[in-house]
C-alpha cells in the first residue's frame, strides 16, 4: 500500500483516539479562548489532562495560567471553549472538583477561624441550613491534621503565616473529598516546610488515584513534583509527560527571551 498525499483514514483514527482520550480525561479543555478587553489572555487552548497524574501548568507571567483555570471553572466567562470531566460538562461535575484559588485573592483579615474556613469545604454536605455536627467538625480537623495545621483550628486566619494560610486552603479542598484538584499557585510565597507538606499531600492524593492540576511557576521543581506538564504562553506550547515535553526548546518557545532569568532545570533536548 502506498501512502497517499492525504491520509483521511489516519486522520479519522487520530480523531477517534483523541476523542477517546478526552472522554477518559477528568479535565479536558477544547478551544478555550478568554479575553480581558482587546487582547486574548488565553487563545484557543486544547488540553487533555491524564487521570491519576499530577500536572503542572507552566508559563511566563501573563501567560494565562490562572485565567485558564478560572475560565474552565466558569469563574470568568470564556469567549469560547468546552471543558469536560469524563465526557460530562464540567459545570455538572463541580461536586467532584476542589479548587484552591491563589492565596492573595482573599482578604485574610476576614473574621473567621481556621476551622470555619475548612468547614466551607463541607458546604455540599451541609447545604443551606444543615446543622454542623461533631462528625463534620471531626472531618475538618482530620483535613487540618493532614496538612499539619490541627493545632491552629481556633486561630483567626489573619494570625497565620503565608505558608500556613496556603495549607488551610489545601485543607478546605481536602474536606471537599473531590476527585480532581485544581490549584492556583499553591507554592507561591510559602516557606520550605509548607512546600514540602503540600507536595506530600498532593502526591498522596495522586497515589489514591486523584488527579491534581497546579499552576506552578518554579521551573526547577517541575521534574521532581509533577508527572505531566502543560506549557502555555497565551497559546499552548507543549503538553505531555515531563520527560517528553519539558525541553529547553519548548521552554524557549514559551518564555522567549526571559528563559535565562527563569533558570530552568529543564530536560535537555535529545535525539
Amino acid at each position: 500500500m502506498t501512502l497517499a498525499p492525504s491520509t483521511p483514514h489516519l486522520t479519522l483514527a487520530q480523531d477517534t483516539a483523541t476523542e477517546a482520550a478526552r472522554a477518559a480525561s477528568p479535565f479536558a479543555i477544547r478551544g478555550m479562548t478568554v479575553s480581558y478587553g482587546q487582547k486574548p489572555a488565553v487563545f484557543s487552548i486544547d488540553a487533555t489532562i491524564r487521570a491519576g497524574k499530577m500536572t503542572a501548568i507552566v508559563g511566563p507571567n501573563g501567560a494565562g495560567k490562572s485565567t485558564l483555570l478560572k475560565a474552565a471553572l466558569g469563574i470568568v466567562t470564556p469567549l469560547s471553549g468546552q471543558v469536560t470531566m469524563y465526557g460530562q460538562p464540567l459545570k455538572a461535575m463541580l461536586p467532584r472538583i476542589a479548587y484552591v484559588p491563589q492565596r492573595a485573592s482573599v482578604d485574610w483579615d476576614f473574621p473567621v477561624r481556621v476551622i470555619d474556613v475548612v468547614t466551607m469545604g463541607l458546604y455540599r454536605h451541609l447545604g443551606l441550613i444543615g446543622r454542623l455536627t461533631g462528625a463534620h467538625r471531626a472531618r475538618a480537623l482530620a483535613c487540618l491534621d493532614r496538612v499539619g495545621m490541627a493545632d491552629f483550628a481556633e486561630r483567626q486566619i489573619g494570625q497565620l503565616s503565608g505558608g500556613q494560610q496556603q495549607r488551610v486552603f489545601l485543607a478546605r479542598a481536602l474536606a471537599q473529598g473531590a476527585d480532581l484538584y485544581l490549584l492556583d499557585e499553591p507554592f507561591a510565597g510559602v516557606d520550605a516546610a509548607t512546600e514540602k507538606a503540600i507536595i506530600g499531600v498532593l502526591k498522596s492524593l495522586r497515589d489514591e488515584g486523584k488527579t491534581v492540576v497546579a499552576v506552578h511557576h518554579d521551573l526547577s521543581t517541575v521534574p521532581d513534583y509533577f508527572d505531566d506538564v502543560l506549557l502555555l504562553n497565551v497559546r499552548k506550547v507543549a503538553e505531555g509527560p515531563v520527560a517528553d515535553v519539558f525541553t529547553e526548546t519548548a521552554l524557549a518557545e514559551a518564555y522567549g527571551g526571559r528563559l535565562q532569568a527563569a533558570r530552568p532545570d529543564a530536560v535537555p533536548v535529545t535525539g
Binding site: 469563574i75 479548587y99 484559588p101 485573592s105 482573599v106 482578604d107 476576614f110 473574621p111 473567621v112 477561624r113
Partner: protein, 303 residues
Amino acid sequence: MSGADFVPFSLVPLLIGCLAAVACALPGNFLILRRQALIGDAISHVVLPGIVMAFLVTGTIAAIPMLIGAAAAALIAVAAIEGIRRFGRIEPGAAMGVVFTSMFAAGVLILELSDTSGVHLDVEHALYGNLESLIWLDATGWASLTDPVALAGLPPELGRIAVVALLIVALLALFWRPLAISTFDEGFAATLGLPVGAIGLGLVIVSAIAAVAAFDAVGSIIVIAMFICPPAAARLVTDRLVHQVLWSVAFALISAVLGYVLAGYGPLWLGFGNSVSAAGMIATVSGVILALTAIAGPKRRRI
C-alpha cells in the same frame, strides 16, 4: 416618665429607630467585608430622587412605589456612571461621586418644587428624617398596647420597618452560609455551585430595601452611618463573623436608644431650650461608638 407621656410620644419613634438601625446594620456587615461600603453611600443618595419621583407619579408615599422608584433611580445611576466613565474618561470613583451627588441634588430640587404638604415628605425630612413626628396619638398609656382601637392608629411606618427588619433577619438566617462563603472567597464559592452574582446583587437589593424603609426614620443621608458604623465597630471587637453580626446589632440598638434619648433630653440637661434631631444624634452616637472601639477594641489592628 409616665406611660401616658412615653407611649404616645416616644415608644414608636424609639421602636422605628431601633428597627431601622438593625435593618441597616445587618447588610452593612457584609457590605463592609466586601469592601463595598460605598454602595451603602450610593444607595442612600440615589434613593431620594427615586422616592420623590415615585411620590409624584403615585401621589402617595407607599412602600412598593418607593422601592420601585428607588430601583429605577439606581438603574439610571448605574447607566450614568458607566456612560461618564466610558465617554468622559473619568475614573470610576469620581464618576460615582458625581452621579450620586447630582441625583441627590436633583431629588432635593424636585422635592422643593413639588406640593408635598399632604404627606411627610419635604427637604428637611429627606436630609435627616422624621423620627420625632412619628407619634402614636391614639395611645393613652401602656394599656393601649392591648387596645385594638388604639393599635389601629399606629403610624404605618412602624409596620413597614418591622416587616423589613424581620425579612432581613429571615433572609440572613436562611442564606448565611452562601453569603459568608461568597463574601470571603467568591471564586471558591462559584465552584461550590453558588450563584455568586445573584448573591452579590441580592445583598445590594436588601440594602436598598433597608435604606428605603429607614428613610422615614433617618432620611436618606444619615442612613449611611447606620450601614457602616455599627458593623465597623463590631469588627474591632471580635474575630468571628457570627459575633461580629451580633455585636453590630447591639451597637445599632445602643445608638438608636441613646441617640433618641440624648437628642430629646440632652440639650435640656445642658440648659438649651430645644431638642436636636434624633437621627443626627443616632448617627453621632454610632460614630462615637466606632471611635471608642477603634481606640480600645480588642481586635483593632494598627496599620
